[in-house]
């Protein structure tokens, strides 16, 4: 019994060794692991996730702002989140592979669909939560509807919008782990192709993916604090 905890610690030690040093693949001949390869896969992981988040924001934020400003499409803006949650990310990726094929663009598209609902819903809710008196005051000062959106509703909704982006980003980074199933070699390849990278590679992949997700969460949490208008933080009890 004494050697049991030691045994799993050495597994983690081997995994860290895989991250730091290259070694021969399980299949022989090629070299795998090492910082260079880990960074390569990390970069691919960030690229596909970043592209998806970028496209999702470019679509969902304006739509959410317009719907929220007009006070229309509440059912759509709210229920899209619930529907989005019910679709398994694995099924979404698989659907794209089966019907559109593999590749960077298709994976990005699947991840965009995954990322849109939280951003759209949070943008809509953020705009609707703006104090109507503030908007009245802005109109009274002669701001046009476009200016009300840009100078009042958008800044006041920013914390909520970034909350949505944060949810989506963490979700997308997690889902990008299964992107190798669709031919995009993210960090998930270490996990899914254990026949090449071995048990150490798989554990190494899990460690790096976990760290990346925590980093993204932390980064967006900080960003969310930074974009919160000072007036909003002052009002909080």
């Amino acid at each position: 019994m004494m050697h049991l905890p030691l045994a799993f610690l050495s597994d983690f030690g081997d995994a860290i060794d895989f991250i730091l040093h290259t070694r021969e693949a399980q299949t022989g001949t090629v070299q795998v692991g090492g910082l260079a390869e880990v960074l390569d896969f990390t970069w691919e992981h960030i690229k596909v996730s970043g592209a998806a988040i970028g496209v999702a924001c470019a679509f969902a934020v304006p739509v959410g702002l317009v719907l929220g400003h007009a006070g229309k499409g509440e059912l759509l803006a709210i229920s899209i989140s619930n529907v989005g949650r019910a679709v398994p990310s694995l099924a979404l990726i698989a659907f794209f592979v089966a019907y559109l094929g593999v590749g960077f663009t298709n994976v990005t598209l699947a991840l965009v669909l995954l990322a849109i609902p939280p951003i759209l819903t949070n943008t809509y809710v953020g705009v609707r939560q703006v104090d109507p008196d503030v908007i009245d005051a802005a109109r009274g000062m002669g701001l046009s509807p476009g200016e009300v959106v840009r100078r009042i509703e958008l800044p006041l909704a920013l914390p909520s919008i970034f909350g949505g982006i944060r949810t989506s980003a963490v979700n997308v980074v997690a889902t990008a782990t299964i992107a190798p199933l669709a031919g995009v070699l993210t960090l998930g390849d270490f996990i899914l192709s254990a026949n090449v990278y071995g048990q150490d590679g798989r554990l190494a992949g899990a460690i790096v993916v976990a760290l990346l997700a925590l980093f993204v969460e932390l980064a967006f949490a900080t960003l969310q604090r930074v974009v919160t208008p000072r007036g909003l933080t002052l009002r909080d009890p």
Binding site: A86, S89, A91, G188, L203, A206
Partner: protein, 234 residues
């Protein structure tokens, strides 16, 4: 498995739909039995994970109700568990708990804690002070106040949390196949299933339907447990 099914299909009707790898609803109806066991396993994983998550989060919420300073640390720790990708957690646990249900259930349960905990705490905070005062005025002890006043009034928030947790867990449980715990994901990733159009739609569709069905069940539970919310003059 897929090839075998194709052969059977050809013998039965001679249609080449499956051979062309189109979407064939008829095939799903004919081969529904191959989804029964994965579906049952999927339900088992989801219900067990949410039930365990609820039990742990409930205790944590009761602790945080008495000791408010614990609220922050609990949210922090469950937040980390919520952020970690399930797939990564499966393999981080592998050296410790091995392949199978245990690993999958630990990862899925860990994921639900934050959602459920946060909703129970919100629910308890949203109890009107008047209701609490009235309870105290009627001579209820702290424990009676919790069970007879606060928890019933917090129930809609609690159920809302359970609904989000359940729907999310149904989706994540498709990944349980990577932890060696089966489920509907098995019908998506095993072999060449991922390029099998009909199979992907069948397995994914069943997961979506399961999420909706469990959501309806929880909504029904809420209606039964909060009859006073229905008693509105017509």
């Amino acid at each position: 498995m897929t090839t075998l099914a194709q052969v059977q299909f050809h013998e039965r009707s001679g249609d080449s739909c499956i051979a062309r790898n189109d979407f064939c609803p008829g095939w799903i109806v004919d081969h529904f039995d191959r989804y029964t066991d994965p579906l049952l396993q999927h339900i088992f994983l989801t219900v067990t994970a949410v039930a365990c998550g609820f039990a742990i989060a409930f205790v944590l919420a009761l602790v945080a109700r008495r000791r408010h300073w614990l609220n922050g640390p609990i949210l922090g720790v469950t937040g980390v568990l919520y952020t970690l990708p399930s797939l990564a957690v499966f393999f981080l646990l592998l050296p410790i708990t091995g392949r199978g249900n245990t690993t999958a259930l630990i990862a899925l349960t860990a994921y639900t804690l934050q959602i459920i905990f946060r909703n129970i705490v919100t629910g308890l905070e949203n109890v009107p002070a008047e209701a609490r005062d009235a309870g105290i005025g009627m001579g209820l002890t702290d424990r009676q106040l919790l069970w007879r006043v606060e928890l019933p009034l917090a129930l809609p928030d609690v159920i809302a949390g359970l609904r989000i947790a359940t729907t999310t867990t149904v989706g994540l449980a498709t990944l349980a196949v990577f932890a060696g715990a089966g489920g509907l994901g098995e019908q998506i990733v095993t072999g060449s299933n991922i390029t099998f159009k009909t199979g992907v739609v069948a397995a994914g569709g069943l997961a979506v339907l399961l999420a909706l069905a469990l959501d309806m069940v929880l909504l029904g539970v809420q209606r039964v447990l909060t009859p006073w919310r229905r008693a509105r003059p017509a």
